[in-house]
Point group: C2
Chain length 402, copies 2
């Protein structure tokens, strides 16, 4: 879709919301390829641009969007006004390219909303206390939206995405996956980290902290999406909300290390020092007093993780270090897990009945994850989705939706 | 030239100036087609964009340039920092798209210059007292440069253009035109208004007011350009500094109106009320007590001027109204005119000798303008250029240049 058409579509959507009698503040990100084009320009003039100047450059993308959206709304006959992060008082720390929001000044927005205007705010950007322009990094525009919704005490923060909402599983893999009318912040956080990348973790965390009700919905349809809200008692009746897979990790195993205190710290200390993000950790004790320690890391960290593991492994007298990049993590998430027993057993049985071998297991309060061969990931996802009957509605949605 | 290459060239120029031991503040405008592209985008979403949102949109063009230039300088190993108009305290009135600068806060720039940094400032933009982003309209970036040079007390404000400097006449028309080493502010103002559009009037006026020495020079060569400075005694030795032509006007004549007091006011009052910019006015008294009043207006205003002139003319009992769009104004400019007599006569004689008819004449303290047929404009320009021997250096340039 051409950029101008996108802007007009968004304007029409905002206009409808205004027509319904709501006050509307809109947070927008940069248009289509704008950010990529700006990054390309930067790389043509400088091999290592300073982060400050990078933010100065990138923040223009959102500024173009807000001006165009305000114009498009004016063209439809609506009063609208756009603001940069600076103008609307989005104050961040000074960590250029990945700044964190410290405060939002709601006064200017409230004044304009009270005048009946639609307020258009540039996402992804802010200023530090010296009026230096900062950008928020990944998930920045969603995070801006949540911060502003929190400051304004908005009824709901609608997040428009390219999907219809949050599903019980990725519909591209599990055709009978069902759109969830509502999930809790915690479920959303567990799903996001497990690969259901509908919404950036950071925005969900902020929404949870500030109790902002999110509505994740499609930019392309009028349908209701998924509400992300604080946990309710009704939610617990649904044992599992969704299943997800993550193929982006690799497994590293340090074989046959002596089972003495402090071994784990000796291994994971150096890994943390190297900035390697370890996800799952499993330690198995053999009969001969030797342990095998397995862990997963993002594939991009595998090489560095292997180097560290081999170095530490030889110091500890390990028999060797193995790696397996061909793995997938299958996770089942649900707040109902807390009050229902046998959830893990059901998942293991389903995988076992299908002849899918489980390499690693980890559990949290509301999530069970199993590492399986990547080649069987899609099958595993379907099997678990079926086992928990996620394509069927098992609680009254009417109750669940509020 | 590609945008990145342009930026790199400017960076190299700034680097050389730094190497010479100067503190440098640079004002930049938007890259190549950026402004046109932004305007095109706006027109796709809105038929009549609000001026405020237009400024929000257009100001991103300069912000991209400053970030890229700072990066390019950093890539060359120089410390550089970029600032938007807001950040550097360029405060304007609230007249969006044509704002006027009220004040410039030099503190931030001085602090960075004192640290040895090259300071890159976005031209063409400012903020009003409510932090609303404004743009300065035509000549905006040059005006920003002069305002900052004034605030900093800079030794010189270099203006880089696509010409080599100010010439005695347009070299495309008069091949033996000579580059002037120095001109006065007033000469520059008279030349600019007569069509030598090297530098916008507004920037020259501000430079004159603040006594900022300008150096108009080429972006493409290392050669010295033309200094624009306060008038000196030496300048008066050069009778005429340059000649110029302006074909953008049309002549309107109101024929045979009664020669009674108040006639001119009755005609030019309504023209002014219609926002028509009248340039030259000539009133000729006939023997029968009837006057013909002729005046020139920009061609774009001709239709409106004719309507007003016909309406007023019939009220005044004029015989009729004529217009002539095929005219050109030839002007000779020089501060030496004040102390030299016979300058006008010399110009009239040169045109007369060439058989070129003069339709209108107007004079100011340092300028003589003659309206001639547009078809003979180039010839007239050469004839006058020759008459004053402008291709020859008539005063020692060494004296003149300081």
């Amino acid at each position: 879709m051409a950029n101008a058409d996108r802007i007009k579509k968004v304007a029409a959507r905002v206009a409808r919301t205004k027509d319904e009698g709501h006050s509307v503040a809109v947070v927008v990100s940069a248009l289509g390829q704008t950010t990529d084009e700006l990054i390309a320009l930067a790389s043509q003039v400088c091999s290592e641009p300073s982060k400050r100047e990078f933010d100065m450059l990138l923040s223009t993308g959102e500024q173009v969007s807000i001006a165009l959206l305000a114009m498009a709304l004016q063209d439809l006959g609506y009063d609208a006004i756009s603001f940069t992060g600076l103008q609307v008082g989005i104050v961040t720390d000074s960590a250029h390219t990945k700044a964190r929001i410290i405060s939002v000044n709601k006064n200017r927005i409230m004044r304009e909303l009270d005048r009946g205007r639609a307020v258009i705010v540039a996402g992804f950007q802010g200023v530090d206390e010296n009026q230096e322009i900062t950008t928020l990094g990944r998930g920045g525009s969603d995070t801006t939206a949540v911060a502003i919704a929190a400051a304004l005490g908005a009824d709901v923060c609608e997040i428009y995405t390219d999907v219809d909402g949050v599903f019980t599983a990725d519909p591209r893999i599990v055709p009978d996956a069902r759109k969830l009318p509502v999930v809790s912040y915690d479920e959303m956080l567990e799903m996001a980290s497990a690969g259901a990348k509908v919404l950036h973790l950071r925005a969900v965390e902020l929404a949870k902290k500030c109790r902002v009700k999110l509505h994740v919905r499609s930019s392309f349809t009028e349908e209701e999406g998924t509400l992300v809200v604080a946990e309710t008692q009704e939610m617990e009746r649904q044992v599992i909300s969704g299943v997800s897979q993550d193929k982006g990790e690799a497994k590293v195993s340090v074989l046959d290390v002596p089972d003495v205190p402090g071994i784990a710290a000796k291994l994971f200390g150096p890994l943390a020092d190297s900035g390697i993000n370890v996800d799952m950790i499993v330690q198995s004790v053999g009969e001969d007093g030797l342990n095998t320690i397995s862990f997963t890391v993002p594939e991009s960290d595998l090489k560095a993780a292997m180097q560290t593991a081999e170095k530490v492994g030889s110091e500890l007298g390990a028999r060797g270090v193995q790696c397996d990049p061909g793995i997938a993590k299958i996770s089942a998430v649900g707040v109902g897990m807390r009050s229902h027993s046998g959830v893990a057993a059901k998942m293991f049985k389903a995988l076992g009945d299908a002849g899918i071998n489980i390499h690693m297991i980890s559990t949290s309060e509301i999530k069970i994850s199993c590492v399986v061969d990547a080649a069987r990931a899609e099958e595993a996802l379907k099997v678990v989705h079926d086992a928990f009957e996620l394509s069927k509605v098992t609680v009254e949605e009417g109750t669940n939706q509020k």
